[in-house]
């Protein structure tokens, strides 16, 4: 493939990120313009290259020799999701970030993070995956501490320590895979280790991959950094972290490696199902007791990621045990669709929390109240997002949860379906609490002159709310065949897929 588009996904954010500290040190408006232009053009590139499929040979070297990028249904879907959310977040940042100093550094770090995520998604090479994982992680550590307050620094340190442990484990796993095969290219590694999954070294590598990416995805045994780090960051960064970072670095990378390189066997799939179910339940019950709006959202992120992992694990399990292919694709479809949906509604919720925080100066639900007339737009969008996350029809969260429940029933895991529905109900209760305390009731005295968020911020809220309402349409068969099915195919075809595509020409 010779298209000019894939390099732009890396070169544009990196170039602008390097340029901003040079030219926009004193000029916040210039930094705003450059940052937003960069993310807008990235979104355009991601949409333009949606139909592209194939292998891009960096430097002109054929795959096992050089590094290659792999473009398929899954990576293209992820690219659109990531760049969409980053565009909305930068749009929101223009006004929101005025309360902090050093805006140019903010945009620079933001673009580095986006470049890192794009790199992870494109990469077809294990070591290269690690390098871009580190770019995205390092810039996110710094962004969490951007506010410079006590709790922000502390959350960032905790995140840095656990994140670095995760990255180092991933590097060790890459080293082990190299030691066994002599290749780093995903397709070649997968070909060489086919049928050898039971060897202790590969088992060790699989464990390190699962733990390393699990830390990045904040699934339950590895989640303690998330409830600190995500609320501490500025709102647009929280939206990025919860909305796309844990997915690109965690779930996407994990499923790529497990499904396409190592191969899912029943044990690994069982681990995924257990971790997913545990995350769902633990996350939601920790969330119920929270009164800090952003912290509550962060716990819900853990819970919702559980749905995604559960869907993928279920699909993998059915495939590995030779069950009905239809049920497997349904489960993977549910997981991936929920991943995309969660990106949209969780970023919207975090942006809403930012807009409320901007207006009221607090994140505590108990100090809010009566905002329904003061902030009608925020209220409307926040309600839509809450109903989405709780899985109320016709919003997008409902459809993806429905798919996962159906798949669990078809595969004979009725108890998993029951847990899924139960967690969904608890989520609904938790968000009814949010809506009740934030928007209903009497307006507290200090909040008398609260005003709706500035127009630029509202645009991003409305954009995401429209998506929340409309994304169910992606399941219409004609659309689904173009958008979601190729992504599902990338995972459900597993190793054969890797051999045919990633090993290259």
């Amino acid at each position: 493939m010779n298209s000019i588009l894939p390099p732009l996904l890396i070169a544009v954010p990196l170039g602008i990120a390097f340029l901003i500290p040079l030219v926009a040190r004193r000029l916040d408006r210039l930094a705003d313009t450059l940052g937003n232009l960069a993310t807008l053009s990235l979104l355009a590139v991601a949409l333009l290259m949606f139909p592209l499929r194939g292998v891009y040979r960096i430097g002109g070297w054929n795959p096992p020799v050089g590094i290659s990028w792999v473009l398929d249904g899954l990576s293209n879907l992820m690219l659109v999701v990531v760049n969409l959310v980053s565009f909305v977040a930068t749009l929101f940042s223009i006004r929101y970030m005025e309360r902090y100093t050093a805006k140019h550094r903010y945009y620079s770090l933001f673009l580095l993070m986006v470049a890192g995520m794009n790199g992870v998604i494109l990469s077809g090479d294990l070591f290269n995956l690690f390098v871009f994982l580190e770019i995205a992680s390092v810039s996110s550590y710094a962004l969490v501490a951007f506010g410079g307050r006590h709790e922000e620094l502390e959350a960032s340190f905790k995140y840095l320590v656990l994140g670095s442990v995760g990255s180092t484990l991933v590097l060790l796993a890459v080293a082990l895979s190299y030691a066994v095969t002599g290749y780093l290219n995903m397709g070649s590694v997968s070909t060489l280790i086919a049928g050898r999954q039971a060897e202790p070294v590969l088992l060790l590598a699989a464990v390190f991959f699962i733990v390393g990416f699990g830390v990045k995805a904040a699934v339950v045994p590895f989640h303690p950094w998330l409830p600190d780090a995500h609320p501490s960051a500025p709102a647009p960064i929280s939206a990025m972290l919860s909305g796309v970072l844990i997915k690109a670095l965690g779930v996407y990378a994990l499923s790529r490696v497990l499904f396409n390189v190592i191969g899912v066997d029943p044990v690994i799939a069982g681990v995924l199902i257990a971790v997913g179910a545990l995350s769902m339940v633990v996350g939601v019950f920790l969330a119920v007791g929270q009164w800090d709006f952003k912290r509550l959202l962060a716990y819900h992120s853990i819970s919702q990621m559980g749905y995604v992992v559960l869907g993928l694990g279920l699909g993998g399990y059915i495939l590995a045990t030779g069950g009905a292919r239809g049920a497997a694709t349904l489960a993977i479809l549910g997981g991936l669709f929920h991943l995309a949906n969660h990106s949209v509604f969780k970023s919207l919720l975090f942006l809403c929390s930012g807009s409320i925080e901007q207006a009221t100066g607090t994140r505590q639900l108990k100090e809010m109240g009566g905002l329904r007339e003061r902030m009608p737009l925020t209220r409307a969008t926040c309600t839509i997002a809450s109903l989405s996350i709780a899985g109320v029809p016709p919003f997008n969260g409902f459809w993806s949860k429905l798919l996962i429940v159906l798949a669990a029933f078809q595969a004979g895991f009725a108890w998993l379906a029951a847990i899924t529905i139960l967690v969904s109900l608890v989520t609904l209760i938790s968000f009814l609490k949010v809506l009740r305390y934030a928007f209903l009731g009497a307006l507290p005295e200090p909040l008398r002159d609260v005003r709706e968020a500035p127009a630029l911020m509202s645009i991003s809220l409305v954009l995401l709310a429209v998506l929340c309402t409309g994304m169910g349409l992606l399941l219409v068969p004609a659309v689904r065949g173009v958008v979601l099915d190729p992504a599902v195919a990338a995972l459900s075809q597993g190793l054969e897929y890797a051999r045919s595509l990633m090993a290259g020409m």
Binding site: V138, H150, E151, L153, T168, L172, A175, A179, P227
Partner: protein
């Protein structure tokens, strides 16, 4: 034996990063893990009685091919060392900032977040 010792070094670093209560100690633990993984990669590429993967005018290519150590892990480790340096610098910066705010490197005295 060599691999296991290197892995033990890695686990010592991991132990330090996970259990110590001092921010500088935690950073030291991360650095030890980093060194251990780098060393592990190079150990994997070593060839008995090997030569460095650098040609000069007098090298015989066939002999070089049979004796040179694996250049790829060296390239990877070069990258990994610099990445490790970046992460450690950022961690030290955070330690200094936390010290300025709290006057201590002790995590138990810093903890305000609930976890």
């Amino acid at each position: 034996m060599v691999y296991t010792l290197c892995f033990a070094l890695f686990l010592t670093g991991l132990y330090c990063a996970l259990t110590k209560k001092n921010t500088v100690k935690i950073v030291i633990g991360l650095a030890i893990m980093e060194y251990a993984v780098n060393l592990f990669l190079i150990l994997l590429g070593y060839r008995r009685n090997g030569v460095a993967p650098i040609l000069d005018r007098s090298t015989d290519l066939a002999d070089f091919l049979a004796r040179s150590v694996d250049p790829l892990p060296q390239a990877l480790v070069l990258t990994a060392i610099v990445i490790g340096l970046g992460v450690t610098s950022l961690a030290v910066a955070l330690c200094i900032r936390l010290y300025e705010k709290y006057g201590t490197f002790d995590v138990t005295q810093i903890r305000r977040l609930k976890g």
